[in-house]
Amino acid sequence: MLSQARPGSKGRPLADRLREFTGESAAKCYQCGKCSAGCPLAAEMDFPPSQILRMLQLGFPTLEAKAIASLSIWLCLTCETCLARCPQEVDLPKIMEFLREESLREKKFHPQAKEIIAFHRAFLDSVQAAGRLYEIGLIADYKARSRHLFQDVLVAPKLFWRGKLKLFPHLIKDRSNISRIFSKTLGKKEPSG
């Protein structure tokens, strides 16, 4: 049963925080489903995009928890197709971004999202260290995080022979600037905005 009971100090409805941090209003969505209809990965998601937004509209904590723990938010390609077609111009990509951050902050994310998050972390590790992406480093870091040791074992050499993978990373000069940026954003505990 859906209920609006908000036990103890659960805090404000997620839609309020969404409004505060991104300026987007969940109430604007009139659930027409056009986003879900055009989303390339809607069929692979546990909840299509318009459903995720529906979960924020009533302010019910159980539904909000579902949204944050969904796989949908991690499968989002940020292809911007939904925003391009939404009649109410709801910035769904931005809302997905917000929900992902909430998910990480609450440390509640869908079990199947592990690899995806591991990839992003590995990518950013590389950027934080060198200022630019070091692809071999990325692959190694990802394999370590995801334990998919044999993935792409056949493809990687092909890329290397063709000169597509650089052996050494390019270190930019102002790496301290990059460290500063990371410490003031990803390094912070509270959500951004």
Binding site: C32, G33, K34, S36, G38, A42, A43, R85, Q88
Partner: protein, 663 residues
């Protein structure tokens, strides 16, 4: 010498409960110029009114002030009393000590002092009042109706049957509008042309109605009761008096592949053409933009063929001047074309059509004689997808409103399709079903329950063509927003209803307000739906907002009744509180300098120019003149005039100054 009488009303406890009547009467008595000052419980009652009558007679009053409620309540009451007693009605004023004083303050000495101030102000004004007389304006009992769709037809017939003359102007070669294009109408599935054409003929034959088709409004001048209108009768290229409507010209015309406007480009027409067989008048028109003779000087096949020798290539446009007393605007609407939708193909898919185009397919007199066929290959479609809300309720596309009729006509289309193609499957993608009219809900349920129309709640994200089929990608929000893909043979978009092209220019010509969608503005959305803010101009139908036929007809009759009311007297009586330009003796004539800032500023176009000449006609100066028939007494020009040459009768500069100084 002023002899003002002041009558303070208690209004029960409304005034007396907060203001001390005794003190007010006493203080007012001491104001110079006041010769009579009393109070009474209810001034608006019969005994109260008698007090005024008696005082006017006994004390020879030159002005009356009733200190009571708002003039919006009882000014007419007390003015009538004065007029009946022989005192000019405009020498009677009201001091509002209720809404402006007793109702908004606590009981105190200050409140009473304020009441006294309010009365004193009005005394100073009343001392400077002059007798004024209502302005009479003659009324021309002819109505101009712009637009010959069902709204215009209904309004014209109603006004004509009330005994007044009507001039009906229609832009297209025939009257009938969009209703003539429909196959059947909801909720009865009446054949649209069958119920419309008798009215069209009635309009053509009515002795009180003059019909000008293929004509447009050129200009409007004047004011309520006295409009001066110019109509441009575009050259048809034929002599209407000789033409018999035989149609041989169209048969002989070599250009046969021009997309027909009446058939919404689902069919073709010739360069000389009658839009449809039931056209009124049943006379053809030459399309000058496509006709070979007008483009290259050759052909003339129609002229050679015409048995009545009625072709007149060199016919010019004609400007007709008429005088009318009222104008009814019934210019109707348009629907968005498929080109408006990038995600549905930018209009390039032949088998993605609008609702209006589907009407032409379904119509027995249409290009396919009522058979539903794919425009691309002429085959019967087995699967048809109808998409509601195409463009409507869509702020991203610039249209926030609901077009009102699409839910109903989509259900109708799906039903008609199923009636004609028994083995076909119609799908409707919708957001909501709006079926609020009489028998409307039952109609939609019939579509779903009896005719097997499949409704899917969700909008369609994209349509593209693959192997001759249209792939429709939608979603079913009632099933968890699951993506739904349908391979359709035909897609019908219920496109948004928008204001007709040229609506903005027309509104500017007749000085009527319009909104950001170019729908014309009614005077009040609830209580004055058929009037505009411009006196004498009324509106009806879809030019004001999306609406269906029953409402349009009702509104048209409503507008007609307003016109009939306007025409019920020979003269219009107007309040004389208007602006007046200073005039005086030669050699000055007027302190007006002729800068005409007032003319530009006047919101009602009430300022004209007057030439002051010598006896032999030599021009001395041009000054401003206020048209007493149009001026609304707003005072803008008075405030603006640098020379102080304009003043407001009944609210003169001197009076206002005296009022302020009396506080």
């Amino acid at each position: 010498m002023s002899r003002i009488g002041v009558f303070l009303c208690h209004c029960g406890e409304n005034i007396a409960g907060t203001v001390d009547p005794g003190k007010v009467v006493e203080a007012v008595n001491r104001i110079p110029g006041v010769v009579h000052s009393i109070d009474y419980k209810y001034m608006c009652s019969d005994p109260g009114q008698s007090l005024i009558r008696e005082a006017i007679k006994e004390k020879g009053l030159t002005g009356v002030i009733v200190a009571a409620c708002s003039p919006r309540m009882h000014e007419p009451t007390f003015r009538r009393v004065c007029a009946e007693s022989g005192l000019n009605a405009f020498l009677c004023e009201m001091a509002n000590v209720r809404e402006h004083c007793s109702w908004v303050h606590e009981k105190s000495e200050l409140t009473t002092a304020k009441a006294i101030d309010l009365v004193r102000i009005m005394v100073e004004k009343a001392k400077r009042n002059r007798p004024l007389f209502p302005i009479k304006v003659p009324v021309t009992k002819t109505a101009l109706v712009l637009g010959g769709g069902i709204a215009g037809i209904q309004a014209s017939l109603d006004i004509a049957n009330a005994g007044h003359k009507v001039i009906l102007v229609e832009r297209d070669p025939s009257i009938g509008g969009h209703m003539a294009q429909l196959s059947e109408t909801f909720p009865t599935l009446d054949c649209s042309q069958c119920i419309l054409t008798p009215r069209m003929v009635e309009v053509a034959q009515h002795p009180n109605i003059t019909l000008h088709t293929y004509s447009e409004l050129e200009s409007v001048d004047g004011f309520i009761g006295n409009f001066k209108v110019k109509i441009r009768k575009k050259a048809r290229g034929i002599d209407e008096k000789l033409c018999t409507g035989c149609g041989v010209c169209a048969q002989k015309c070599p250009l046969k592949k021009i997309p027909s406007e009446f058939n919404a480009a689902m069919g073709m027409r010739t360069a000389i053409y009658t839009p449809f067989p039931q056209a009124v008048p049943n006379k053809p028109v030459i399309d000058k933009k496509r006709c070979t003779y007008y483009l290259k000087g050759k052909c003339k096949a129609c002229e050679k063929a015409c048995p009545a020798e009625a072709i007149r290539f060199d016919q010019p446009d004609e400007i007709i001047e008429v005088e009318t007393g009222a104008i009814v605007c019934t210019t109707g609407f348009e629907v968005l074309s498929t080109e408006f939708f990038p995600e549905y193909g930018y209009g390039k898919y032949k088998d993605v059509i609008t609702g209006l185009q589907f009407e032409r397919l379904a119509s027995a007199s249409g290009p396919t004689l009522g058979a539903i066929r794919r425009p691309s290959d002429g085959k019967e479609p087995e699967t048809v997808v109808f998409i509601a809300c195409a463009g409507s309720r869509d702020p991203a596309k610039g249209i926030e409103y609901c077009s009102k009729i699409c839910c109903m006509y989509t259900a109708k289309h799906a039903m008609l399709y199923k009636h004609k193609v028994h083995q076909g499957t119609p799908y409707v993608f919708y957001m909501d079903i709006r079926a609020g009219g009489k028998m409307y809900e039952e109609f939609v349920r019939r579509a779903i329950e009896e005719d097997g129309v499949k409704y899917i709640r969700g909008r369609v994200s994209r349509i593209y063509e693959q192997d001759g089929k249209l792939i429709v990608k939608g979603a079913d929000t009632l099933l968890g927003a699951q993506p739904v893909e349908i391979e359709a043979d035909l897609v019908v978009l219920a496109t948004a209803m928008v204001a007709n092209s040229g609506a903005e220019e027309l509104a500017k010509k007749i000085h009527v307000s319009y909104d950001s969608y170019h729908f014309l503005a009614e005077a009040h959305p609830k209580l004055r739906p058929v009037e505009t803010n411009t006196a004498g101009i009324f509106l009806a139908g879809a030019c004001q907002a999306p609406r269906d036929i029953p409402e349009t007809v009702a509104q048209a009759s409503g507008a007609a009744s307003k016109v009939a009311a306007l025409f019920s007297a020979d003269e219009l009586s107007r309040e004389p509180v208007i602006a007046v330009v200073h005039r005086t003796a030669p050699p000055i004539f007027s302190i007006c300098e002729g800068c005409f800032m007032c003319e530009q500023a006047c919101p009602f176009q009430a300022i004209e120019r007057e030439e002051i000449k010598t006896r032999d006609g030599k021009l001395i100066k041009v000054v401003a003149k206020v048209n007493p028939g149009v001026c609304q007494g707003c005072g803008t020009c008075v405030a603006l005039c640098r020379a102080k040459a304009l003043d407001l009768q009944g609210f003169s500069n001197e009076q206002v100054y005296a009022e302020v100084m009396a506080v």
